[in-house]
């Protein structure tokens, strides 16, 4: 092997020859890029950049139990990784729409538009800067759009341990995680969320008031309903309308609905989330509630020859659930009213029709928002449900027209 240039000092030529004889030079074509990339990987062992702690701060304990220092004055909240409920919870507990720096993704905006908060705080719906214009949702990946989020100027990020909140917490941006909502009590989750949010905004008493009102509403319902012996509790099924049929079976998040309404879950014993028609026919529940947000209406459902044999269909006891999508996961204010709604349907002889009044009162007294009759009609799905048994009690002139039909 000839030296590369005649002027090379002697030891170098020897090294050159030695390496060449091992063919190492031939390996360089791949070795250099591999080694370089390995070195770049090592750059990741640098310590992560850390945000400095805010100069003045108060500490809030978040849903995961971690204490987080929120800077003062409060700079703005970003909602990340949430099925949109977090924005609702924030507005409900703080009544401070100006404190939002980011409310959610474009898809969440569409859902938000269907819920009452978009009417109480229309400026939140209209303000483009609050919503991510991309089509990302948290489901596409935990850190989808994290660069855009980081660009926001905000004092605190709200989120869940699966989302970009994980990253923001890692680098020291004040991040509050909502508690992980497994199949536990949704009400407890809502209460904890409200407390945390209200504390951030500096008005924890607002959350306490909401929570007390929420509890009070359940107490009043229990008092009025009395104790219904289990044998006389009607059997209720909450289901979707396209095959294979989605059923809210006993080990998921609808369990909070049914006990306060004192009804039995028809799907006890089933483990699957989806069942075929045969199982549903075998269940033969007393009442059927269809998922809100889409699918066949109660009229269509009852007209379907497939369901003709069900006693709920024969007695016209098929209703659409309240809520725009998902049904029932409605926040501290709406939740007890929604439960009362189901109780009024399933125990019409025990309860006076009060849902409309409760709805109107709740939002006027707490948020200064008076729902019109047409709004309440829409929220209660009056046009879809009016053809079903006993739904007249929810109509505007219910006091004069309320009908009774004894449960079987």
């Amino acid at each position: 092997m000839e030296p590369a240039s005649p002027g090379m000092p002697f030891p170098l030529t020897r090294i050159f020859r030695w390496t060449a004889s091992f063919g190492i030079l031939r390996e360089l074509a791949w070795f250099i890029p591999f080694a370089s990339i390995g070195l770049i990987v090592l750059a990741l062992t640098r310590p992560s950049p850390q945000f400095p702690a805010p100069a003045r701060s108060h500490t809030v304990i978040d849903g995961s139990g971690a204490p987080v220092r929120i800077g003062q004055p409060f700079q703005g909240a970003v909602m990340t990784w949430g099925p949109g409920f977090y924005t609702d919870a924030f507005l409900e507990a703080t009544v401070a729409p100006e404190a939002l720096a980011r409310a959610g993704t474009a898809r969440e905006r569409g859902d938000f538009a269907k819920r009452i908060w978009s009417r109480i705080f229309p400026q939140v719906l209209k303000q483009d800067s609050l919503w991510d214009s991309g089509i990302m949702t948290y489901q596409k990946g935990p850190d989808a759009g994290v660069e855009g989020l980081l660009a926001l100027d905000a004092g605190v990020f709200f989120g869940n341990r699966h989302g970009p909140a994980r990253l923001t917490r890692q680098i020291g941006i004040p991040t509050l995680l909502f508690s992980t909502q497994g199949n536990g009590n949704w009400d407890d989750f809502l209460r904890a969320a409200a407390r945390m949010v209200a504390e951030v905004s500096g008005h924890p008493e607002r959350a306490e008031a909401l929570i007390e009102q929420n509890r009070q509403a359940y107490r009043e319902l229990a008092a009025e309903l009395g104790a219904v012996p289990e044998a006389r509790q009607p059997c209720v099924l909450i289901m979707g309308t396209s095959s294979p049929y989605y059923v809210k079976s006993f080990n998921n998040d609808y369990q909070y609905y049914l006990p306060p309404a004192q009804v039995r879950n028809a799907t006890v014993g089933l483990t699957g989330q989806r069942q075929d028609a045969e199982r549903i026919l075998a269940m033969d529940p007393d009442f059927i509630f269809l998922m809100a947000g889409g699918g066949a209406s109660p009229q269509e459902f009852m007209a379907n020859p497939l369901w003709r044999g069900l006693k709920a269909v024969r007695a016209k006891r098929v209703y659409r659930m309240l809520g725009a999508r998902g049904g029932g996961l409605l926040g501290l204010t709406y939740q007890p009213i929604s439960v009362r709604w189901m109780a009024e349907i399933t125990h019409p002889d025990r309860l006076q029709p009060k849902v409309r009044e409760l709805l109107r009162d709740a939002y006027v007294s707490r948020f200064g928002y008076s729902m019109s009759d047409a709004e309440i009609d829409a929220d209660l799905h009056l046009d879809a449900n009016l053809g079903s048994a006993g739904y007249g009690r929810f109509a505007r002139d219910a006091f004069s027209v309320h009908k009774q039909s004894a449960p079987q």
Binding site: G23, R26, E27
Partner: protein, 259 residues
Amino acid sequence: MNNTALAFDGLGHAYLPERWIFRGYRAAVTRGRVFALLGPNGRGKTTLLKILLGALQPSEGEIQVHGRIAFVPQLFQVSFDYSALDMVLMGRARKIGLFTQPVPADEEAALQALERFGMAHAAHRPFHEMSGGQRQLVIFARALVAEADILILDEPTSALDLKNQGIVLEWIAKLRDEGLTVLFTTHHPHHAHAVADDALLMFSERDYACGPVDEVLTEAHLLRLYGVPLRQVAFEYEGKALASLVPVHGSLRRLPVAG
């Protein structure tokens, strides 16, 4: 020093129990000579080759190999269009470590081997674009580059046209003259007759004849082997007295009887 390149004794193989291809075969291949393996299709020549190459364990018998073997297969399939030089370079496998790449010395050797067979000009042409004869020579070069003592060829002439058959046979003789031991299978007895020094005729399961070509490649043996009578024919060409074997088929052209 042992003059035997390859020897086997009591060799037998059965793919299925009790279905022996051959049994009790015994032969010795002398160094520096050409050894032909003859037998009709299906007699087991390829099986015997696989055993000699060590790719197949014989059911019984033992083999001794003194020296390194290089193999030239009959059919050549490559999935990628390597150049002729790439193909020859593969012959250096034994000399190149598991995790090392060929060095310039290897490529030199490959190129020189190609030159040996007059194929250096085509070193960078794709292998699969070459004619059958050229491919055969490239594979010869590959066998050579492995620096083997024994060359084993599986039907080296079967796929070739007339001219290339001659070229290959001449090369076999040349390599033998240079000291290589060559073993090849064929079902052209006149090829064996032309270049081989020794031959093994595989008649049947237990029946075989082995020995120098003059003794073994007789018309009687060949009739027994192929079921076709062959005649050794002598003729003169350019002042040389030559001989070859000719099969006597029923369809041979008849000459009118003189007088």
